[in-house]
Symmetry: none
Subunit: 202 residues, 4 copies
DNA sequence: AATGAATGAGCCTTCATTCAT
DNA sequence: GATGAATGAAGGCTCATTCAT
């Protein structure tokens, strides 16, 4: 007598999510290339073959992880955007990143490690570029609202700042003072400087 | 008939530096794992075997690149530190990074791609951690000099900012407005905000 | 609640024959090695596991197909043999092959593809050799009856001819003029040449 | 001091031809699928990796074998065609096949085994179909010259006969009376029957 | 009788590394 | 110093087969 469809689905889902979380962990810890299918299977407590019953290839597995995590992250971002009054949006966003980071540290680690590897990146297919692009645009909108003198440049700067902090946190979560840095950044953006008159810098 | 010792040494040095620059280029472009010894040899215009006459392994080649480039970078930094009056040091440093980046873009690309891959990193041996540590300390000194309220945190923040900009530049040198961002950062640090009284943030 | 034994048996037979015809089709189309158990199950509309409830292995499945089809073919041959007067037996056999081929094209395709792969053949176990042997002997009998000068050689020749035509037909059923060739072969055998005196050929 | 270019070429050629002949042997003996790269390497007395220094893939290796052998065979055929007076061409061709077969028995075994496996065939790329096509056309020309009533059909018949004999020989070189069969076939074609008046066959 | 999740051996291929010259 | 042929240890992936239900 075959297993009931529900029992089957449960088994499958269980396997799938073990694979997914094992790979996220190992991809983040070792990097995509060094995280062996063999090692992933071991970490997930299953056989190598089973991975291919769920994902057609290692690259597919990477894509699945991204799809899953990016959906999660996107939701968090959207929540942050909607929540605040215009004047507080930047503060809101900065403070939100802290939680988003903590909740998906492994994903961010992986994502940052991939960003610098064009070879692997293209196995992932596009999506990441578009995404960062859209973040910059969002930031630019916020900064325009608060009267930044050159919102395009300020957006790049703010994004660089957030990205830099995120990476430093993710690299060393125990020692990097994430919250303190964020609060300090808030100070800076509250005192948003006007662009001064200036002679051409060399 | 044997070559003269000097001619030999010159040949050797020539080979060595071809290998080094070829690997730097390929490591940066493809990532450490995907840059094949075969491809490096081809790029350098020499045989695979010769690489092992100069470096005992691929990891050791990576180490050599780091040693060479870090020396170069350290020198640039030292110059920047010494050049300015205390009050202008932060500005000086920010502006200096632009040139340091442009001169060694490949090295930075590689370095950033490695930083997130502990697996590869440990083949590199320590050194990178110590180095970033020393940078943070230098920054902290600068910030203390200009009266930052919490130099330790401000140093982390400034380092994150520089690192973020550097990465964004290195990722897309043609589109990222590096100089404009740096100048804008200078604005922020000229207007260095005091830490305001504040109720505990949630 | 348990099914009645008869219903069970009917189900079982149904499954078995679906499996058999699905595998014959796929073995013929893709070759034994490339026809996956998974694909066979899909083609048969059943689960992979069920195949192993009927056959202990893929090789055993192949054996079953051969047993089934060879029985079928043997019957057709016997009918052809018995039907004609001695003088017309060769013609009868030639003409009969056409129908036998058309009826079991897939089996012949498979059979021809296997014949050249000793590796697979031995998984099949003996049987095919014996069978071709018996065909040659039958032909030899026919040819002796019609006064062939060297029935043994003529039998080999005739078998080769039939086999050659069969394969060419099976390879390209739409373009190969099977019936025309058979009729032409009949011409040749009606005019069965005497063996001429001859000097040793080099 | 590097090996001389000649020494290198000799080494390479030696390896290449060991690989080529080992694969031909194993492909012919076991079939393409069952002839493992591992087994081929062992048969050739070299490492698995070396095969890929000469051929980019297993399929490529197959292609190389075909290219090599087909050139050889084509030359033999051309020689046979040119050698004889029109009236003796068919005899000449029949007798030539014997030697062509004996010289490349393994290649023919392989070639016949592949012909029935569309999957593998297409990895080989086209060429085989064109080739058989051109053979049939050549035969048709010969038969027209000697006044065959329907050269197109007669060509198919003759080709089937040759192919049938070839296969039977190649399947069992020790027992199949190749020369005797060929001589007997010559008898048949010397006595080339006219097409008789005939009522429609059933 | 039947299912489909799960296994594990083995395949093709890549690549850092060695070695004879 | 330099070459390039050669090796061998994985790595990703497939597939016949088993097993709990």
């Amino acid at each position: 007598m075959p297993r009931s469809p529900e029992a089957n689905e449960k088994l499958r889902d269980e396997s799938r999510s073990r694979i997914l979380s094992a790979s996220l962990r190992l991809f983040a810890e070792l990097g995509y290339e060094r995280a062996t299918i063999k090692a992933i299977a071991a970490e997930a407590g299953i056989s190598q073959g089973l991975i291919y019953a769920h994902f057609t290839s290692k690259a597919e597995l990477l894509r699945a992880i991204f799809a899953q995590s990016m959906a999660d992250v996107r939701a968090s971002f959207a929540a942050a955007e909607a929540a605040d009054a215009p004047s507080a949006r930047i503060e809101g966003l900065l403070r939100a990143s802290s939680e988003i980071l903590r909740r998906n540290a492994d994903f961010w680690r992986l994502s940052y490690s991939l960003r610098m590897q064009p070879g692997v990146l293209q196995e992932l297919g596009s999506g990441l570029d578009d995404w960062t692009q859209s973040i910059v645009e969002t930031l630019e909108g916020f900064l325009r609202e608060v009267g930044a003198p050159d919102p395009a440049v300020d957006a790049e700067l703010l994004f660089a700042l957030i990205d830099g902090m995120s990476q430093h946190y993710v690299l060393d979560p125990d020692d990097f003072p994430l919250e303190a840095c964020i609060e300090r950044a808030v100070d800076f953006y509250r005192a948003l400087p006007k662009r001064p008159k200036r002679r051409m810098p060399a």
